[in-house]
């Protein structure tokens, strides 16, 4: 079992996308989650999905400026997974028997709601990105997601100079924005 300091270190690492921290958390927690899902009507594939989602919830939480976890990572992940899995079972209307659970859990309703909202936003952006086409997608990806400099992008994409790349980038951004907000109108 980890000390509080070790747990804090792990969460700090997680907030910075540190793969070692992710791996340690995986190794210490995945087994319990997989057993839980499989013992409750699920498959190994579904367990992996659920665990990934819970990791994203934990990641988002670890990035908050005033972040503190009131319980152990293990308890937190387990509670999230349990809640997510119950929801999924309900959606699939597989939910018939009492869900087995011996572990301690904490209430996580709010977190799940936030997570679902974020997921929706993510999907809206992903859809808009998918519609925008090349070279816009790669260009925006390079600038806004990989955070490359305009000089590097100009060189990579074969623009004569950074200013040309910049103009192109703004054109693409404008298109993406239109596609993104168009989805709100359709909802």
């Amino acid at each position: 079992m980890n000390t509080t300091e070790q747990e804090q270190e792990l969460l700090k690492g997680l907030a910075q996308n540190d793969k070692n921290a992710i791996e340690v958390i995986y190794r210490e927690n995945y087994g319990a989650i997989q057993s839980f899902v499989i013992n409750n009507n699920g498959s190994a594939d579904e367990a992996r999905d659920i665990f990934q989602e819970a990791m994203i919830v934990l990641y988002e939480k670890s990035k908050l400026p005033k972040f503190s976890l009131s319980c152990q990572i293990k308890t937190y992940l387990y509670s999230i997974c349990r809640r997510l899995w119950l929801k999924r079972l309900q959606q699939l209307s597989k939910y018939s028997t009492q869900v087995e659970s011996l572990e301690e859990t904490i209430p996580v309703e709010e977190e799940i709601e936030d997570h679902e909202k974020r997921n929706e936003d993510f999907i809206l952006m992903e859809n808009a990105m998918a519609k925008i086409g090349e070279p816009c997608k790669s260009l925006l990806d390079a600038y806004y997601i990989q955070k490359k400099s305009m000089q590097d992008i100009a060189a990579d994409f074969g623009y004569t100079n950074a200013d040309n790349a910049k103009t192109q980038k703004y054109k693409c951004l404008l298109r993406l924005k239109k596609l993104f907000f168009a989805q709100y109108k359709n909802v």
Partner: protein, 369 residues
Amino acid sequence: MDDLLLIEAVERYLNGEMPSSEKLLFEDLRKKDPEVDQAVVEHAYFLQGLDKFGTQKSFKHALHEVENKLLDEGFINDTLQLKGKAKVTNWWKKYQRNIAVAASIAGFISLLTIGITVSYTKKVGNDTYAILVGEIKKTNAQVNILKSKQDNIPVNPAAPVAPVVNFRATGFLIDGKGYLVTNAHVTSRMQNIYVENKKGNYYKAEAVYTDNNVDLAILRITDTAFKAITNLPYSIKKGTSDLGEQFFTLGFPRNEIVYNEGYLSAKSGNDGDSSSYQLTVSANPGNSGGPVINRNGEVIGIITAKDSKADGVVYAAKSKNIFNLLETLRKSDSKYQQVKAPTNSDLKNLDRVQQVKKVEEFVFMVVGN
């Protein structure tokens, strides 16, 4: 104000890149013109969304990498906690082997393997195959008799050794370092193997692993001219797919890549072979080894054969076999330690045309003699 100029100004303003004089002017404009103010708020919201999207995407990426590592190590194991079912699986594996033997005998005769080139089929002639189909249909008990007969049949009588390309089939990359999957019946017919991409570049390849039971082979491009590809857009599905699932295929029944679509019609292949699916799609000689891809961009199977009598009945090896093959390959030699199949697809939510565009450059024509 011009939209483009406006978002440029807003972005510089939000990033704090505006000189103070311009900033004052801009803030003034913002106060006076509600439209400009609205644009600033909207753009800030949008950029925030884009930024969140970016961070979440990079985190997901890191997560997938860790997961793949743990999967490769066997730390995450599909059969964990499944002691009860494991028995059934073991029993099934044993049984499967018997079926596979029977299927390979039956398959030899009743199926027309698709990997053969036009020139080959012309020489052997479809008629022979058709007659043999008739014979085996008389009774299944005669399988053994037929087997001995089969030994006498010159399987490949005209196998020419001339340095020309005699056979054509399909293969696709499963690891950007130059590893492809195709059918075992394709590589077994070839002494020299080449793969050709859609740009027309040829690379020399070798078969590093073949499994005749599931009719799959792994090729490695040995040519130094081949440049490793860092990211394959599709993934290989680990689980099984459901009846009715729609898919598309890409392959080389001609000298040019050909697209087709169909649906999954049975969860087992010829004669109940549980390692393959039955599909309804059109396939022709040359389609062998081609990927079967669902709408999420996951490879769910590899085309292996078609029924020579029934139209549109095609068999495909299940994609999870690829993982078994890779595992054995990795164990066989330390130099294959790093070979792994992509488990993350970038093709979700793309329309079909875009998906095909992204996939086609990784589908190769496998040719040889």
